[in-house]
Symmetry: C2
């Protein structure tokens, strides 16, 4: 008895120390350089998840909302939905001769990225409304997923879903591991983003809040189907982000993440609630590894966000300084 007792005790003690040291050695955000941004994020998560902490938040309150374009993934030279729409417009062009002179269809046909970048979310939605008409949500999703896997980004010559930010993937996982529900709240059309967001971000379709085109229910060959119609339904930008969060989530987030002035209302909404809050803006400062832009950018304009960040204590991530790697493929290449 004695012998087995001490044997067991030894195993327990060894197991305890191995576990503790493994835990201590685990950095939840390994692609983030040490510094105030990383400290602010980890400090927030520890404060709201530690029982007995004055800032503790019950699990059901742990809602975090993320913008997509420019916050979780690159948005240059245009939002990636435009690349899909260019592909769709070119397939359908012969059926719609009017597109030869009708914007933004003409620009899509000609691959005029400068024009498309300027037309932003309304342009995306108009193209989707024109090219998805009469397709079911399921047909569109399957086609988009296949396109995304085969896509090539004009600068990086890789699938567009490779241009996701490794530090933000770590942040999504870190929050989820701490009981957060992580939502994407985006100007991108849900018709497009839901096709790849589950695989790329770990965010399932039911946790994507976004812009959308009109849809109607219809029986086709005795199968109940949701079919797209040629009109915009909702554009999820600016003041409409908190409104969309109300309709689709129904709780004020305790943390929100964006990168442009159009995310200011969502961050205000999250951070002006009671208790400890986190607002974070991703500032694009790295024109070598990614892009550098802020005030006056055609895509992802960030201007008033700096003042609001200073006033409300939001974290402003400097991509160049704060992030060891930007894209997951950098890590794979360096191994």
């Amino acid at each position: 008895m004695k012998k087995s007792f001490y044997g067991l005790l030894t195993i327990c003690i060894v197991f305890f120390f191995v576990t503790v040291s493994a835990y201590a050695a685990t950095d939840p955000l390994p692609s983030w350089n040490d510094g105030p941004s990383k400290q602010a994020v980890i400090g927030f998560v520890v404060a709201v998840t530690t029982h007995g902490s004055p800032d503790f938040m019950a699990k059901e309150e742990r809602i975090a909302t993320f913008d997509s374009d420019g916050t979780l993934m690159s948005e240059q030279p245009v939002y990636f939905q435009f690349l899909y729409e260019i592909y769709r417009v070119r397939i359908l062009a012969s059926k719609y001769p009017a597109w030869q002179t009708l914007q933004p269809f003409k620009a899509a046909m000609e691959g005029d990225l400068a024009y498309l970048a300027h037309s932003a979310s309304p342009g995306e939605l108009d193209l989707a409304a024109g090219t998805e008409v009469d397709r079911s949500d399921e047909e569109t999703r399957a086609d988009t997923a296949a396109w995304a896997a085969a896509s090539r980004h004009p600068r990086f010559n890789r699938p567009i879903t490779d241009l996701v930010y490794q530090p933000m993937l770590e942040l999504l996982n870190y929050l989820r591991a701490n009981g957060f529900k992580t939502y994407v709240v985006t100007g991108t059309g849900i018709e497009f983003i839901r096709a790849w967001a589950e695989k790329t971000y770990g965010v399932p379709p039911e946790m994507i809040v976004g812009s959308s085109i009109k849809a109607r229910y219809q029986m086709r060959d005795d199968i109940g189907s949701v079919i797209y119609e040629p009109a915009r339904n909702f554009i999820c930008n600016g003041d409409d982000k908190p409104t969309a969060i109300h309709y689709m989530i129904g709780r004020r987030p305790i943390a929100a993440f964006g990168n442009s002035d159009s995310d200011i209302p969502m961050l205000q909404y999250a951070t002006s609630g009671k208790g400890r809050r986190l607002g974070l803006l991703v500032h694009h400062t790295d024109d070598v590894r990614e892009w550098a832009y802020d005030r006056g950018s055609r895509v992802g304009d960030l201007d008033k966000g700096f003042d609001e960040a200073a006033r409300r204590g939001w974290v402003v991530v400097d991509m160049k300084k704060d992030w060891k790697v930007i894209f997951p493929f950098e890590q794979r290449n360096s191994r």
Copy 2:
């Protein structure tokens, strides 16, 4: 060593048998009488959750959608949101003299339940749009929750949330225990139902899809708030239920539950997808314990649903025959 080994083995064996027999003895739907309805429900859940079953569905596909009024909770003599609106209209009546002659406000002021029942979801939404204007979502939710706790149903003289169906609560729990995400998809306004659905159904605000009034984002005293406006936004009934599921959930459910013709499209949508599916209609047949109604009812009209159920193999629950108890308070009373 030997002695301790056999001791441990004995404990393990005893533990194993206790667990197995406890498991076998646990009926997941104790308030359901044995019969075809209960068998169909359990047969479906076992089939889609058993690894290696030809009908197995991955966890992320296990989406179940439930109508609320008449499916999870009573809807007589009127949808319960009307009872809250009567309370609101009477508080605000002196501010809005026009309501004296304007329907449905006049009916609400007079407590004319027959008129309100007839005006159904549009009436509910118009009242909410009139009485919630300029309140924030959070103010409305707190007020509604307090009202619900103090409410008295005209027939049962109990809080309206007591009139939930015990067999359906068991079904919600059974599905969740088997990895399903359980959503409510309802004609009721989200402004109303989210105030009590988490406590009553175990369904959090972010899993409620429903009708809604317009809302806008606004800073009030430096707090970002979602404020209600005096107009309908969306009525979630009939063909608009699958459409709302597309916008808010983004996956075709594999199981859907309703009680009236307005749920037919949602059940068609769920059950005409590929693989094993479950559609279920609750038929109100018990005028002693609850109410008996179907064809031609002002509330919860069920007519074409019978034909569709026969054609598509949906379960039709006979409340009188299939359910041992209707309301949780019957159980508490009989103990």
